[in-house]
């Protein structure tokens, strides 16, 4: 009711005025009837009506809920006060806008990546189940190793446990998509999913249907298209369903198209095939073929723990059953979001904390500035309170200013974060793409809550400090304001100390991340990285069905590329240094005693290399020899080991001539022949910058390998050669698509993008915080100097030297800085431990970083204090004494 009244008060005021008019006419008419002259009658009527304005005001006030009208008035006053000091207001608003904008942006990303459930049916009951090795493969106790699942394990789980409604399995794959007519061939990322995956997730296809159970077996040729490839490659033509497309040269029937929103597990997946369709029977039978993801839907009446316990028990049985294979002992669950976020989670949380720190500093800073302003109004506040103003009213009035600042800043911040979020999400390559990153209601609510919190933090401290019981002192101190503000100065100093403390933590974090990034950048990959062009291709099975055919292509390509003028060398392998993990093999050394039970299996990265691979990439030979072109076709059973493998598994032993037993690399025709002779040892390379060196086993590429990555060492800018190299591929096989044409430096750069992003962002936050803190320091000291002008004048008049005064003031300003520095360093020790795992080759208490931070902070603090201190020491004593 009262709200309605409030909203209609303008109308009711108009009605009231009309009522007055009626009253006047009626009264005038009555008066004339009493025999008055018309003029007199009108005058008397007016006298009788009295002060109409007063009545209007009283009804107006009746219609306005009191707190609301007060709030309106307070905001009006605050607005007027703020617009009088425009410079201050703008600075404060910008500070808050930056802080809230940054916090909102990061929250948007955190929410999209970690908090918002994926758009599936009942997402709360979905869980990813990983295998978990209890042994040394788990990074640390309490953490899970989150190993991919072997399909053989999965089929056992699904058959023998009942805690989950259903479980589905999927893995990444890739195909060459060739056109019927003369469309360009294209290498597409694909995924293979068991037939029940889409029903389990609750995904309805946009067109057609999903896989049937009978289609999920080896050799079927059906495919579901993602919406993006459906639009891009097939022009959104619904008639494609039921027709055939060519994958790796084989015809596949399109049975369905997925809806546009389905971009799980990432947006790059272009098509789906049944899980077993392209799997060999060996893949499905081996319990050590850890390649897949398992997503499970919990039954409503079963707890996650008991469902997992069942699966874990089955897995432990399998572990006992296959003591000589790397079969995990246990399983571990992870939410879909966390599973996708993977290694983004830590940096994301780190940045969110950094932004939180910055926000706090921003609030403290505005708070600090407001304390200074409220000091000027101290006497006014004291007088009003003596006249009976309530403390609540006074506090509200002062809060109004900070509310206005934070509201304006918050609005600016939200606008800012719209832009910032988009560019951040674009720059951050590791972010999962399963759902879009955008502002939504929850984020706006978050920003508003931040705004409110910021307003309270920034406004409450100064408001409480000026309206306390001590404020009467302001009246007692009469004209001389000199000593009245000791307690408030103490408050400002403690605010500053907190500000500087947080800044130090941020600076330390930024310094560590920066150093770690520089370390990463200068990390030695172990091969030539300059002037190196890389590209990948994959030979389709159907056309290249024998090792001879593959070798003919690979060797032909290598020869042609090496003959391009300006090419210094070419290397062909399944992958290249710094280009990723690409799988590992578990092995034993034939000549060594058998492993003790419970001992972890040795393992090494699996690599294939052509005879010229090492020399073209500049990987040094440690001992033995490289591959020759005789090691080809039917297995040669020769391998080359990396130096790390030798260090780790042949300590003090000559590895040349020894044999590695690699059960997983069995040849189709000869399952028992799994011993490989080590013929050489080569230098180590990093599989990814920032990761530790892992042992690697190189097999001869010429035993028949259907594709891989080609590296071309060129005399000049490598990208100038990309067309020439691709032309050679096209002349060998015009249908073969080429992908990922990049320089080696770009490949390495990609793994650095995230490190550089987190380092530069945290650094930006830290610098901004440093700037804020120094402005705060300067402000406090300037204020202090003005406050103490009279005192300083007296000191001078009594004979104090100017440099003594300079020292006095300087020390006064530096004290909170030093105190904050100490606190900050202590806090850093705790804080840096949290993100220790994000650092590469840098200790959390890196002396260089710590010294750098201390020096920077001290330098900035001295600079900020010097100006006001200098001004204080240059005071003219006569002037100072006259100053009120």
């Amino acid at each position: 009711m009262s709200w309605l009244r409030f909203l209609r008060r303008r109308r009711s005021d108009a009605e009231l005025q009309h009522e007055f008019e009626v009253f006047l006419t009626e009264e005038t008419a009555d008066n004339i009837a009493r025999g008055m002259s018309p003029d007199e009658a009108r005058r008397q009527a007016r006298v009788k009506l009295g002060n109409a304005q007063k009545v209007r005001e009283s009804v107006w006030a009746q219609n306005s809920p009191l707190p609301l009208s007060h709030a309106g008035r307070e905001l009006k006053y605050a607005f007027r006060t703020l617009s009088r000091t425009l410079g201050f207001s703008i600075i404060a608003v910008v500070v808050i806008a930056l802080c809230i904008g940054a916090a909102t942006s990061l929250f948007t990303i955190v929410r999209s990546v970690l908090l918002r459930p994926l758009p599936f049916r009942d997402p709360d009951r979905l869980v990813i189940v990983h295998e978990h090795f209890r042994g040394a493969w788990a990074s640390s106790p309490g953490e899970f190793s989150y190993n991919p699942v072997a399909p053989a394990d999965f089929y056992e789980w699904r058959a023998k446990t009942h805690g989950f409604e259903d479980m589905a399995i999927m893995r990444y794959s890739s195909y060459n998509l060739t056109g019927e007519r003369s469309e360009l061939p294209e290498a597409v990322r694909a995924a293979a999913g068991s037939w029940n995956l889409f029903p389990l997730l609750g995904v309805q296809p946009a067109l057609g249907r999903t896989f049937s159970e009978s289609e999920d077996r080896p050799g079927t040729a059906v495919v579901i298209l993602s919406w993006s490839v459906f639009q891009r490659r097939f022009a959104g033509d619904a008639k494609i369903v039921g027709r055939q497309i060519h994958l790796d040269g084989k015809p596949f029937t399109v049975v369905g198209v997925l809806p546009p929103w389905f971009t799980y597990p990432d947006a790059k997946i272009q098509l789906w095939v049944p899980y077993k369709a392209d799997a060999t029977p060996e893949m499905l039978q081996h319990h050590d073929w850890h390649q897949s993801q398992v997503v499970a839907r919990l039954r409503p009446d079963v707890s996650l723990a008991s469902a997992l316990a069942q699966v874990g028990a089955v897995q432990y049985q399998l572990h006992l059953q296959y003591p000589h294979d790397p079969v995990a002992e246990d399983v571990a669950p992870r939410s879909l979001n966390e599973d996708l976020a993977g290694n983004v989670k830590k940096p994301l949380n780190l940045m969110l904390s950094a932004v939180g720190c910055m926000l706090l500093i921003g609030c403290l800073n505005v708070s600090n500035l407001l304390v200074a302003r409220s000091a000027a109004r101290q006497k006014e506040v004291a007088i009003r309170s003596a006249l009976g103003a309530q403390r609540g009213t006074l506090i509200r009035e002062q809060l109004a200013e900070s509310v206005l600042i934070c509201a304006a800043g918050g609005l600016g911040g939200i606008l800012l974060s719209v832009v910032a979020t988009r560019s951040l999400a674009h720059a951050w390559k590791d972010l999962p793409t399963a759902q879009g990153i955008h502002l939504d209601g929850a984020v706006i609510a978050f920003a508003c809550a931040l705004m409110l919190a910021a307003a309270l933090v920034a406004g409450l401290l100064p408001a409480l400090s000026t309206t306390g019981k001590t404020m009467m002192k302001a009246l007692q101190t009469s004209a001389r304001t000199g000593a009245s503000s000791v307690s408030r100065t103490a408050l400002r100093k403690s605010l500053l100390t907190a500000e500087i403390g947080i800044t130090v933590v941020l600076l330390v974090a930024a310094g560590l991340l920066l150093k770690s990034f520089l370390r990463l950048r200068s990390a030695d990959v172990g091969c030539i990285t300059e002037n190196m062009l890389t590209l990948s291709y994959s030979l389709p099975d159907k056309k290249y069905d024998t090792p001879e055919k593959m070798n003919a292509f690979n060797e032909g390509l290598l020869e042609r590329v090496r003959n391009i003028p300006g090419v210094r060398g070419a290397a062909l392998g399944n992958t290249l240094p710094a280009a990723g993990y690409w799988g590992d093999y578990v092995f034993t050394v034939k000549e060594h005693p058998p492993l003790k039970p419970g001992e972890d299996f040795p393992n090494g990265l699996m690599r294939w290399a052509d005879p010229g691979y090492f020399s073209a990439l500049g990987i040094p030979l440690v001992s033995g020899r490289f591959f020759t072109s005789d090691e080809r076709d039917a297995r040669s059973y020769k391998v080359i080991a990396s130096h790390q493998l030798v260090r780790q598994y042949f300590p003090g032993d000559n590895p040349i001539g020894k044999h590695l037993t690699v059960p997983a690399h069995a040849h189709k025709g000869a399952p028992g022949m799994v011993d490989f002779e080590i013929v050489g040892v080569v230098g180590d390379t990093l599989y990814q910058v920032g990761k530790e060196t892992k042992p690697a086993i190189y097999f001869p590429l010429l035993e028949g390998f259907g594709g891989g990555m080609l590296a071309v060492h060129t005399a000049g800018d490598p990208l100038r050669f990309s067309v020439a190299v691709q032309k050679q591929i096209a002349s060998l096989d015009p249908e073969l698509p080429v992908s990922d044409v990049r320089t080696m430096e770009q490949v390495i750069g990609e793994s650095l993008v995230n490190a550089s992003l987190s380092a530069s962002l945290v650094l930006a936050f830290a610098i901004l915080s440093l700037l804020l803190a120094s402005v705060g320091l300067y402000g406090v000291l300037s204020y202090l100097t003005t406050q103490r002008t009279t005192e300083l004048g007296i000191r001078m008049a009594l004979g104090a030297q100017r440099d003594q005064l300079l020292q006095l003031m300087l020390f006064d300003g530096l004290r909170p800085a030093l105190f904050g520095l100490g606190l900050g360093l202590v806090a850093s020790v705790a804080a840096t431990r949290i993100f220790q795992s994000m650092l590469f080759g840098t200790k959390p208490l890196d002396p260089v970083v710590l010294v750098g931070v201390i020096a920077t902070l001290l330098a900035v603090a001295v600079l900020a204090c010097l100006a006001p201190a200098w001004r204080a020491s240059r005071l003219d004593p006569m002037q100072a004494l006259r100053t009120e």
Binding site: E21, V22, T25, E26, A29, V55, S58, N63
Partner: protein, 116 residues
């Protein structure tokens, strides 16, 4: 926290009651209400406009009276007030409260058995 009403010659709280009583005789606009109260009280009471209009507003807000636009005696558009059923009940309550009060004051002032 309610602001004090403009000073009135009348006893506090009686204006509302008298307005309600006046409206028992039929719908009226502000001027008529004031005139009726003054006439009936033999001009002993003077209704201040500064109290009348806020009071009418208040009564309407509490739904004891409703209002509509009609034509005044001089054929001008005027806001007429009408007693609602709720207002009638309120009038009964206030009247009985007033009688008690009058008796109490009368007793204190030594009048025989209070005023009749």
């Amino acid at each position: 926290m309610r602001k004090g009403q403009p000073p009135s010659e009348m006893l506090k709280g009686t204006l509302d009651m008298m307005i309600l009583r006046t409206l028992v005789g039929g719908d009226a606009h502000g001027h008529t209400i004031a005139k009726v109260i003054e006439h009936t009280s033999e001009d002993l009471l003077e209704v201040e406009q500064g109290s009348l209009y806020p009071a009418l507003h208040r009564l309407e807000d509490r739904r004891w009276v409703s209002s509509y636009w009609g034509a005044s005696e001089n054929n001008r558009k005027a806001k007429f007030y009408r007693l609602t059923a709720e207002g009638r009940k309120q009038l009964v309550r206030e009247t009985s409260r007033w009688r008690q009060m009058r008796r109490a004051i009368g007793l204190v002032m030594g009048e025989e058995g209070g005023a009749q």
